[in-house]
């Protein structure tokens, strides 16, 4: 359900970026989005929510391309890098120490693809 809020935030981020680059009004073909493994975002739900958020804007009908960012944890005790697994969760697989999450919560717009070649 919170994908509706995320879709609205995504629309606003893209619109602001187009404004900043004076690209507003260009036909956007696709948006590439990075979603962290632990971001709790379901791409399919986001796509569905975005289709409503973007209705009657220049982003209506544009395609979403998703890439995944792997979750990595750094052990506070032994400083070793861990990948996330559901057995150990936020405990270090090597020493059992507590870990800080250093990636895996991403929700970023990486790039846009625009139709035509009028802009350099």
């Amino acid at each position: 359900m919170h994908e509706a809020s995320l879709a609205r935030a995504m629309l606003s981020t893209v619109m602001d970026s187009l404004d900043e680059r004076s690209l507003r009004g260009q036909d956007v073909v696709s948006i590439t989005v990075r979603i962290g493994e632990l971001a709790q975002i379901d791409p399919e739900s986001l796509e569905f929510a975005f289709s409503f958020a973007a209705a009657e804007t220049e982003l209506e009908g544009c395609k979403l391309i998703f890439t995944t960012a792997v979750a990595e944890l750094l052990c506070v005790s032994c400083q070793r890098l861990n990948t996330y697994d559901i057995e150990h969760l936020y405990r270090c697989v090597y020493c059992g120490g507590p870990c800080d999450l250093i990636s895996g919560k991403e929700f970023d717009v990486i790039s846009l693809e625009l139709a035509g070649s009028t802009v350099t």
Binding site: H2, L6, T13, F107, D108, V109, I110, E113, A115
Partner: protein, 223 residues
């Protein structure tokens, strides 16, 4: 022929900057903001009521913003226990967002309570990623929910400074294992402070109030 434009923009930047504005505003009047999150029915409202009684008895002013999909029942329940309360009815939205606080900001800054509790919509998933300008996050794990909730919803418990094991008076009745619950809490949130509380018997309430005051002191030192 199409062209590609690199953006590398964090999508929740704008929402987070709204939260940062709130955080600065509340800090400027000396208000500590506490975001309380848990499943529906785990005892948030009752806990905040009893905790507010304790904090007010020690001379603090307490305000609450409470979110639910519908009704103002919780605001009515909280009203006798706090200095100020407003109900946000989200009409189905599953979490609170910083932008929803705008209508109440002037009132709150004028009141300048020592503590502002934000009782989030009962939900263990969606509230996690929405910063509300809080300095402390508190999660509740009620004894009636089962010991392994933190393992099932690790993200919420991971982000909390304090985890409250609520409804401690029911431990025997529901055969709840505190040991097992603490194991799961420590697995997902190794640095959290876990406090066992019963709003009914008042067990742990003073300890919880002290833990919150300790974080208040740290926050002031840090600023």
């Amino acid at each position: 022929m199409s062209i590609s434009v690199n953006l590398e923009a964090q999508i929740l930047d704008k929402a987070n900057s709204e939260a940062q504005i709130l955080k600065n505003a509340f800090a400027s009047v000396g208000t500590l903001v506490i975001n309380v999150m848990s499943s529906p029915g785990s005892g948030k409202t009752e806990l905040i009521s009893v905790l507010s009684d304790e904090l007010r008895a020690q001379g603090s002013k307490v305000a609450v913003l409470v979110g639910d999909c519908a009704t103002d029942h919780d605001a009515k329940r909280l009203s006798p226990h706090v200095d100020w309360v407003e109900q946000i009815q989200t009409k189905g939205v599953c979490h609170l967002e910083a932008r929803m606080f705008t209508p109440y900001l002037d009132d709150l800054l004028q009141l300048a309570p020592q503590f502002l509790f934000i009782e989030n919509v009962g939900n263990l998933v969606c509230p996690v990623d929405f910063d509300l300008g809080e300095s402390i996050r508190v999660s509740l794990l009620s004894t009636t929910e089962g010991e392994d909730k933190p393992a099932k919803y690790p993200d919420l418990f991971r982000t909390c400074h304090i985890t409250v094991i609520s409804k401690a008076d029911l431990i025997e009745a529901v055969e709840f294992s505190e040991h097992e619950a603490r194991h799961y809490i420590e697995l997902v949130s190794p640095k959290t402070n876990t406090i066992k509380v019963s709003a009914r018997t008042k067990e742990g309430i003073e300890e919880l109030a002290q833990a919150i005051r300790a974080i208040t002191a740290q926050t002031k030192e840090g600023s």
